[in-house]
Subunit: 189 residues, 2 copies
């Protein structure tokens, strides 16, 4: 297939299972700008859906309140482009729920691609990721909040993506920046 075939890419921002500063598995809090910045990047690059995964009920309520403001509330009238971006957001309690939903929509189970700042043996190159998207493979790109995705999540993912590398050993991008860069590498013209 060629690069013009429809891409089947989803982005998942994971708040559980992720690790804290000490390596313990936690459920992190949702950050307002993660919703906005990542939704805008997803909309710009033509991502099919942006899943926000949190098992915490109060966090689900919070996210849905923010989305309501921008999608059906006054925010959408003030800034319609923000509305269009945030319409991509789907809040779900678990990764399994997301995978089930995407499987149903796509007619097959999507491949999960975990992102990390650390190098892993046999990791997926950006060139191969682009090829898989060109081949219309449904893919979920998973990003961890806090100190990153848990080891269990990483072990269960179908692929681990090459880490982004900059100029030296410092490699502490925000998750918002990492999503933007990786979408550009995967889908940018």
């Amino acid at each position: 297939m060629t690069g013009s075939s429809a891409k089947r890419l989803y982005v998942a921002l994971i708040h559980h299972p992720v690790i804290d500063k000490n390596g313990e598995t936690i459920a992190s809090a949702v950050t307002n700008l993660d919703l906005h910045d990542i939704a805008r990047a997803c909309k710009t690059y033509g991502v099919n859906g942006y899943y926000v995964i949190t098992p915490l009920e109060d966090q689900m309520v919070l996210v849905n309140r923010i989305l309501g403001h921008w999608i059906t509330g006054v925010g959408g009238r003030y800034n319609p482009t923000r509305q269009q971006a945030l319409e991509l957001v789907r809040v779900r309690a678990t990764v399994a729920e997301m995978i089930g939903e995407i499987s149903e929509a796509e007619g097959c189970r999507p491949k999960t691609v975990a992102t990390t700042a650390r190098r892993h043996a046999g990791s997926l190159s950006y060139r191969r990721l682009r090829e898989m998207l060109d081949e219309a493979v449904p893919i979920v790109l998973a990003f961890g909040t806090a100190w990153g995705l848990s080891d269990t999540f990483m072990a269960e993912a179908d692929f681990i993506l090459d880490p982004l590398t900059g100029a030296g050993t410092y490699n502490h991008l925000s998750v918002r920046s990492a999503v933007a860069i990786i979408l550009d590498r995967a889908l940018g013209g």
Copy 2:
């Protein structure tokens, strides 16, 4: 020269002169996460300095208080990688002051490259930007907050960079995402 020569790149986040929703020239407010996310991206990609330009005295005080917390205060002990990134930030009142300071440090006036979401005739390609950096040309990449850099600023810039393009006509990245992607295109491995 080769790609291994020292890059002489600076990032400027402009709060004046920028335009508002109606195209009027304004001075915008500083956003806390613009400091963090952009400083972290600059540090990751080896940028020489990150200038935050605002003529508003209360905003300069605010930024310096935030920087103090992370550089010499408790924030730096809690998260040393944040400290290393924020040490790149320099708050200045005007673009002219920044240009004067960089000219003195580099021994010649830097080229200014304005960024925008709109297409301009004769704009600079990312390939040519990388070449200029490889040739050790000192460059300031300027990003506008609010609704973007003013026409006056654009007209006075040495170059206007090609806009980022995604999958369709939607093109409303946050400035944080735009900086991350453009640094990756200019300096990423």
